[in-house]
């Protein structure tokens, strides 16, 4: 009898004070009804909304159209866009996202990427979404691939199929510990396209979490184009500042 009353009471309280969604980062309740992050954790993000490189989406000086890299080198991909800067908020969330406890971050982060994809690209132009793979050993160690989770979320939001197109070779040195030149060298022959995929004439959206020099996604774009893909566009969660901006920033 007592439990019935307790249940009733709890039900009534839940009706009057319904539980609000909890922020997966800080645990705070929020009621803005946008993405699954609280107001505070959203405002920590530095979104890239203007002054981005027209080619690769990096933050640049407002007087320029292209970033230093894109002025001096060509990319295989058509375009790349990033949601925000690899700084305060997103830097923290990406770090947390590596732990399986924070896997749910794929939701809000993927939603942000979907918004950007929708804003900068015409989603009807995509046939497939794919993502940057990790090596099976790394996958076993971590349990999941962030890029895949993000791609999956975007695919659900935009109703486009997600396909795995690559196999990753042995990963000796982590890309982030190398200089630009070393990175390019390190990449050679690291990615192999799967045998049974058919991407002839397909327009592909490639998803990754971080865009630094663009070497990784560019290499993948090259492979895809070599295998007959029609066009490659990139969406990443974060990117860095352009060199010229960094100089400006530091002085």
């Amino acid at each position: 009898m007592k439990t019935i009353f307790a249940k009733l009471y709890q039900g009534l309280i839940d009706l009057i004070f319904p539980e609000l969604p909890h922020c997966p980062v800080c645990g705070r309740e929020f009621s803005h009804g946008e993405i699954n992050l609280c107001e505070k954790c959203i405002t920590k993000i530095e979104f890239i909304k203007e002054d981005y490189c027209l080619k690769c989406g990096k933050l640049i000086l407002s007087s320029q159209d292209l970033c230093y890299d894109c002025q001096h080198a060509n990319h295989y991909f058509d375009q790349s866009r990033s949601v925000g800067l690899y700084d305060s908020g997103l830097k923290e969330y990406i770090k947390l996202f590596k732990y399986s406890k924070y896997r749910t971050l794929a939701g809000p982060l993927g939603d942000l990427m979907s918004n950007y994809t929708n804003r900068f690209y015409n989603i009807k132009d995509f046939d497939i979404i794919t993502y940057v793979p990790v090596h099976p050993n790394r996958l076993a160690e971590r349990g999941f691939n962030q890029a895949f989770l993000l791609a999956k979320r975007i695919g659900e939001n935009l109703k486009i199929g997600v396909e795995c197109l690559f196999i990753r070779g042995e990963d000796t040195v982590k890309q982030s510990k190398l200089s630009r030149k070393e990175r390019l060298k390190n990449l050679k022959n690291k990615f192999i396209i799967k045998e049974d995929v058919n991407i002839g004439g397909k327009r592909i959206l490639l998803v990754d979490d971080i865009y630094t020099t663009g070497a990784t996604v560019d290499e993948l774009a090259r492979i895809l184009l070599d295998n007959g893909a029609d066009s490659i566009k990139i969406i990443t969660l974060v990117s860095g500042r352009d060199l010229s901006l960094k100089r400006d920033f530091n002085s």
Partner: protein
């Protein structure tokens, strides 16, 4: 991909409200009611079965059940109301025993709310309430008195005219079935007192506080303080209330969320001082606020506010995040369960609307306001939000909007808050007989209130404070809110960039704005002549609008009240012309009142034998207002676009028999093939002279002379006019108007007779060939 914030009570509230609204438009009888109750039970069974099956359909069924419950609830209350036993004794002289619930002083009369009505010799008992007014006597009844009363039970006046006010509905919304009067002590005896102890003590306390306020303050400050602290503004001078209303400050004079919030804040500060725990604070607040609620007469606005504060505090105590919309919906559900009719009251809609508008609009407005100071910014954007959110409701109910409400709220609200806070301490000090402190606080309050009145009067007297907009249609209101909602969605500083809804809302805004403009400016205005015989009691009041929209009045009723409300509801501030049929109070009285408020370009009147007080008053006022007045006699002709007014009478020398009536202005309106004869109060002598003059009288419509009296409408006269429709402008009277004989005279000739007391306002529309008419009461 949007994160859903669950607001279960909001969902329930909306469904309930939908049920109530649909029910109010679709009345049903007992058979259908029982049938629907059966349906509800079956649905509940199905839902509980599906619940066990964990079916996904259960949600939809539960939604439907809630909607149906709202529908059934209102229907059963409505049917219960219609079939109440008191209905059998309406209009009869009865001896009843009843319990006094509430007493209030209206100055010229005392009003008592009675319940538990027992009429023993008819074997009737009713739990409905009755409003008893005592004129000329002061029976000093109080809460809990059981009285025996000889009286006549009546239903209150219903609405008779478009734009008018239904006192009957207003009382019904408060659960009051009828009204009664008592004029002498012999008709009233107190037989017992059966009062609940706590209630009685609280009512005593109320009386005590009232007498203290009266002791320390003089007029009008005592009345203002009674309104502010006790929620009793029955004696508040009209001028003050009117000025407050015009400045959009009315909400300060009823005990609402504002007052309860301030009091609760005070309690919070006290609790903090005394280091109360959260639980103690909750209990402390609850006891204090509910006592206050009862002292102030347990009015719904204050109940609403107390419930809301209590839920907020409860949430704090339970450490749950508070979602204002959900809580508000919860309070709304409780109020609607207590009294489903309250959904249709102005007060419910305004106070809920205000809270929703403030919560929803303030953040957006404040982010666009270029004011750095946070407090000031919040205050201004809050006022603006309330103003924007309530605009359609205010114009729907009051036909005008207050232009300076933001400014005046900004100035007055802080002062009134101060008065309220100091007022609480004053009451405490006065109750504890600390005279010095009470006197000191009273002086401070007086100074502030004096300042408040000075500011309010200054603003009200110097500036144009209101704009008459007329009554918007429901569709306009809905479209307005749709635009506001979408605008907020578009303008709201977005948390995350490139949310998708932006485009959708922009489209909604554009489409609804276009639709709104079409409705407001475009069609709807059929070209033709409109005539409306307003139901103004035993008097005449006729309003005409020509095809090119000239606005014309023929007579103004006794006090012009109904005409005033009608014109205001149409957003009309200016009349092109008015005709006075003759200088009797039930024809010219309203004209005198109306020209004080409305701009009238020209007034036409008949010659009179000798001046009297009324005519002198009229001419004096017309001169002050610089209105062009013109005397009309037979042979004159007034042409207003395609409409012709031929003056058929009076003719000189004037008739000496019953001269005012018999020398009434007789107008024959001619619009293409359509003719109307307006005869004022013309009696037989005047009719005979008209017949003798061999003027063409034949008309489609006749405004029957002298309210259908048998001293008018002679057979020869009727036959000469040969109308298809006769309109009798009549109300309750002691002269026996309209005479049955006269009515039969029309009917015998196959002439349709419409009476404004039965039909309410009669609206006529014609294109100059055919016509159609509408009876207001038939439409209700």
């Amino acid at each position: 991909m949007l994160i859903k914030v669950r607001r279960p009570l909001v969902e329930i509230f909306i469904l309930l409200v939908l049920g109530l609204i649909v029910a109010s438009y679709l009345p049903i009888d007992f058979t259908y009611l029982n049938l629907l109750e059966g349906v509800v039970i079956i649905l509940v069974l199905i839902a509980s079965y599906l619940w066990k099956q964990k079916s996904s359909k259960v949600r939809a069924i539960v939604y439907f059940i809630i909607f149906l419950l709202g529908f059934v609830y209102l229907q059963s209350v409505e049917l219960n109301w219609e079939n109440d036993k008191l209905g059998a004794v309406i209009g009869d002289k009865v001896k009843l025993v009843a319990k006094v619930l509430k007493a209030s002083d209206k100055g010229y009369s005392k009003e008592y709310l009675l319940t538990d009505i027992r009429i023993t010799d008819r074997g009737i008992y009713s739990d409905k309430e009755i409003l008893l007014s005592a004129y000329k006597i002061d029976p000093k009844l109080g809460y809990g008195d059981i009285i025996e009363l000889d009286t006549r039970l009546e239903l209150a006046d219903a609405q008779h005219n478009p734009g008018g006010f239904s006192y009957r509905n207003y009382l019904k919304q408060q659960g009051i079935y009828g009204v009664a009067k008592v004029n002498s002590y012999e008709e009233l005896r107190v037989v017992a007192n059966r009062a609940n102890f706590i209630m009685r003590s609280l009512f005593k306390l109320r009386e005590e506080i009232k007498s203290l306020i009266q002791r320390y303050f003089y007029q009008p400050y005592n009345y203002i303080l009674e309104a502010l602290l006790l929620g009793d503004k029955s004696l508040l001078p009209d001028r003050i209330e009117d000025n407050f209303r015009r400045l959009g400050l009315s909400h300060l004079l009823v005990i609402s969320g504002f007052h309860i919030g301030l009091l609760s804040y005070l309690l919070y500060l006290i609790g903090k001082r005394l280091n109360f725990s959260k639980r103690l604070n909750l209990i402390f607040n609850l006891i204090f606020l509910s006592s206050y609620l009862i002292i102030t007469g347990c009015q719904l606005p204050s109940l609403r506010a107390v419930l809301l504060i209590f839920l907020v505090l409860l949430g704090n105590y339970l450490e749950r995040r508070i979602d204002m919309y959900n809580l508000l919906a919860g309070v709304g559900i409780i109020i609607l369960l207590i009294n489903p009719f309250s959904l249709f009251t102005v007060s419910f809609q305004l106070s809920f609307g205000a809270v929703v508008a403030i919560s929803f609009l303030t953040p957006v407005i404040s982010s666009y306001l270029p004011i750095k100071n946070d407090k000031l910014n919040n205050l201004i954007s809050g006022s603006l939000a309330a103003q924007l959110g309530l605009l359609p409701l205010l114009s729907y109910y009051f036909y005008e909007i207050s232009l300076l409400s933001v400014l005046s709220n900004l100035l007055i609200m802080p002062l009134i808050s101060l008065v309220l806070w100091i007022g609480v301490f004053f009451v405490l000090a006065a109750l504890m007989r600390v005279v010095i402190i009470a006197k000191l606080l009273a002086i401070i309050i007086k100074v502030i209130l004096c300042l408040v009145l000075k500011i309010v009067n200054l603003i009200a007297d110097t500036f144009i404070t209101t704009l008459l907009v007329g009554k918007p249609t429901i569709l306009t209101i809905v479209l307005y809110y749709l635009i506001i909602y979408s605008l907020v969605k578009v303008l709201k500083p977005r948390l995350i960039p490139y949310s998708k809804n932006y485009k959708l809302h922009s489209k909604v805004i554009i489409l609804t704005t276009i639709l709104l403009l079409i409705i407001q400016l475009g069609f709807g205005d059929l070209n033709g002549l409109n005539i409306i015989f307003l139901s103004v009691g035993s008097a005449d009041g006729i309003y005409l609008e020509t095809p090119s929209h000239q606005k014309i009045l023929i007579d103004g009723g006794k006090d012009g009240k109904e005409i005033r409300e009608y014109l205001r509801s149409r957003g009309i501030r200016r009349l092109d012309m008015a005709f006075i049929s003759h200088f009797h109070a039930d024809h010219v009285g309203g004209i005198i009142e109306l020209i004080k408020e409305f701009k009238v370009d020209r007034i036409f009147y008949p010659p009179i034998l000798e001046e009297d007080e009324l005519s002198r008053e009229f001419f004096k006022l017309a001169e002050d207002k610089e209105i062009k007045v013109t005397k009309l006699c037979r042979g004159d002709n007034i042409r207003v676009s395609q409409v012709n007014f031929k003056v058929l009478a009076p003719s000189l020398p004037l008739v000496s028999e019953s001269p005012a009536n018999n020398n009434s202005l007789v107008l024959r309106l001619i619009y293409k093939n359509f003719k109307v004869l307006f005869t004022g109060d013309l009696e037989i002598e005047g009719e005979e002279r008209l017949l003798a003059s061999s003027a063409n009288l034949s008309s489609t419509i006749l405004k029957v002379g002298h309210h259908g009296s048998n001293t008018s409408s002679s057979i020869g006269f009727i036959d000469k006019i040969n109308p298809a429709l006769a309109v009798i402008s009549v109300g309750k009277n002691n002269y026996g108007h309209p005479s049955r004989e006269v009515v039969n005279r029309f009917k015998a000739r196959g002439i349709k007779v419409l009476r404004t007391d039965y039909s309410g306002a009669v609206t006529l529309w014609t294109d100059g060939h055919s016509y159609r008419y509408e009876e207001f009461l038939l439409n209700q």
